[in-house]
């Protein structure tokens, strides 16, 4: 019926076209200014956190193992939106005020760190023991072994699951709208609030998210190909 009313009414069709056109640029701008930086920065910080957490989990130091377990458990056991609300709306109560963007970066980084740490831990454990021993026998230190031998091989194994994490993250950044980051979804909301074309604006936002994620899956394919050059098939 909605479509019917659109197509039987050329004026309305024209209005929708105009809105779509005029809102496209602000949406893209918001994506470039906030959605993508938020995703990339959070992913990089989160990945760093994930490696540290994974190493803590596989270390022989009990305290480190324990800290890593608690961290992962808390992040995985609570909703992302609740975490963001605690960071942005909750912490000011105890005198810690964080701006929307940094609060979002902290929230998403902590999230990626917890989820990706399990991916990286599994990838490290999948490397045969003989690789550690070969590194030992040529005299490598623990950090040299990780840097030169284990992590390069583990990262190959991690590409598909980490791509998943990254793609989820790009979509999850829409939650930052709720802590006032003017990322793409919030801009869509703001425009829709002025013209009431919710379906059009949210549809446009969805399309742009999908295009970004599609491009990312292409990058994933290329990465996998590059890593596969040293693996027999």
């Amino acid at each position: 019926m909605y479509l019917n009313s659109i197509f039987s009414n050329p004026e309305r069709l024209e209005r929708l076209g105009d809105i779509a056109q005029s809102s496209f640029l602000p949406l893209i701008e918001a994506a470039v200014q906030f959605t993508l930086p938020l995703s990339v920065i959070s992913f990089i910080l989160g990945l760093f956190l994930a490696v540290v957490t994974a190493l803590a989990r596989i270390s022989t130091v009990r305290v480190l193992q324990w800290i890593a377990r608690v961290y992962v458990s808390i992040i995985r056991g609570t909703p992302l939106l609740v975490q963001l609300f605690i960071l942005f709306y909750g912490l000011p109560t105890v005198g810690v005020t964080i701006d929307p963007f940094p609060a979002a970066v902290i929230g998403f980084s902590l999230n990626v760190g917890a989820y990706a740490s399990e991916v990286i831990r599994a990838a490290i454990l999948s490397i045969p023991k003989g690789q550690w021993e070969a590194a030992d026998t040529i005299g490598m230190s623990y950090s040299q072994t990780l840097r030169r031998v284990i992590l390069p091989q583990a990262s190959r194994v991690s590409v598909p699951p980490l791509s998943n994490t990254f793609i989820s993250l790009v979509k999850d950044t829409s939650l930052a709208a709720l802590i006032l980051v003017t990322e793409m979804f919030r801009v869509a909301q703001q425009i829709a609030a002025t013209n009431y074309e919710f379906l059009l604006l949210y549809g446009q936002a969805a399309l742009i998210y999908w295009i970004i994620c599609f491009l990312l899956s292409l990058v994933q394919g290329r990465l996998e190909n590059r890593f596969d050059r040293y693996v027999s098939r």
Binding site: A134, T137, M140, Q153, S232
Partner: protein
């Protein structure tokens, strides 16, 4: 070159090495044989501290490790440098070319000049008959070729002693010869070697001394002729009979 006294190794309750004593002269090749579970691989791994012995002392090339006392990481690394290990499953780094596998020790660990190290690595590849495979990744090489790269990687460390842990056990039969040939060449060049192997032909042809191990002890030792042709111990005789039986099946 090697002097081992009262070497013990336990995994929890299980005592795998029950006091090994051994002296090896510079340039000697020692072949260790024995049934599986006899502790021969553990023994070899102890010499490179891939397993940390529970007790005893090992001296290699003038450096003594006393395993009755705790050792720092630094001490372990220093002691490890005296020897280099060749593994049953080669354990090459799959993400590096043959050349890079060999360079990893000298350049990354020992911080040697890259150009010089490369020259030497290429010479080593030539020595193991793989000068045309420098840029190949391990998965592009046959098992025998991978193991020869493994030997070159170990030699690049310039160890005083080479340790071989069943270097041909994972190989297809037609590839065993090329690896044994490289090892024989090393013997003739005067490299000190300890070899755990099931290749009796190699033991007969290249060993200065053969050790027969069983249940964590050296049961019998002597020249290949003594151990293979005139074994004194019952267990040695039984083991050799079993091996010869399978040869004639």
């Amino acid at each position: 070159m090697i002097s081992i006294k009262n070497l013990h190794k336990s995994f929890g309750e299980l005592e795998v090495l029950k006091g090994i004593d051994l002296d090896v002269e510079k340039g000697q090749t020692i072949v260790v044989i024995g049934p599986s579970g006899s502790g021969k691989t553990t023994f070899l791994r102890c010499l490179n501290i891939l397993e940390k012995p529970s007790d005893g002392t090992v001296e290699i090339g003038g450096l003594v490790a006393d395993f009755s006392k705790p050792m720092s990481k630094k001490q372990i690394m220093a002691f490890r440098k005296q020897s280099a290990m060749v593994f049953q499953h080669y354990n090459l780094f799959p993400h590096m070319t043959a050349l890079d596998n060999i360079l990893e020790g000298p350049v990354t660990v020992q911080k040697k000049d890259k150009a010089q190290a490369k020259e030497k690595a290429l010479a080593l590849l030539d020595k193991v008959g793989l000068s045309d495979k420098a840029d190949s990744y391990p998965h592009q090489l046959s098992g025998g070729q991978q193991q020869r790269v493994g030997i070159a990687r170990a030699l690049a460390l310039e160890p005083k002693v080479m340790l071989f842990d069943e270097p041909t056990s994972a190989l297809d039969p037609e590839l065993v010869g090329e690896v044994l040939q490289v090892m024989k060449d090393l013997t003739q060049e005067g490299m000190t070697m300890v070899v755990v192997t099931h290749e009796m032909r190699f033991a007969k042809g290249a060993a200065d001394e053969v050790l027969f191990m069983d249940s964590g002890r050296i049961v019998e030792r002597g020249t290949p002729d003594e151990v293979f042709n005139r074994p004194q111990e019952e267990r040695t005789k039984r083991f050799l009979n079993l091996i010869q039986d399978t040869d004639t099946i």
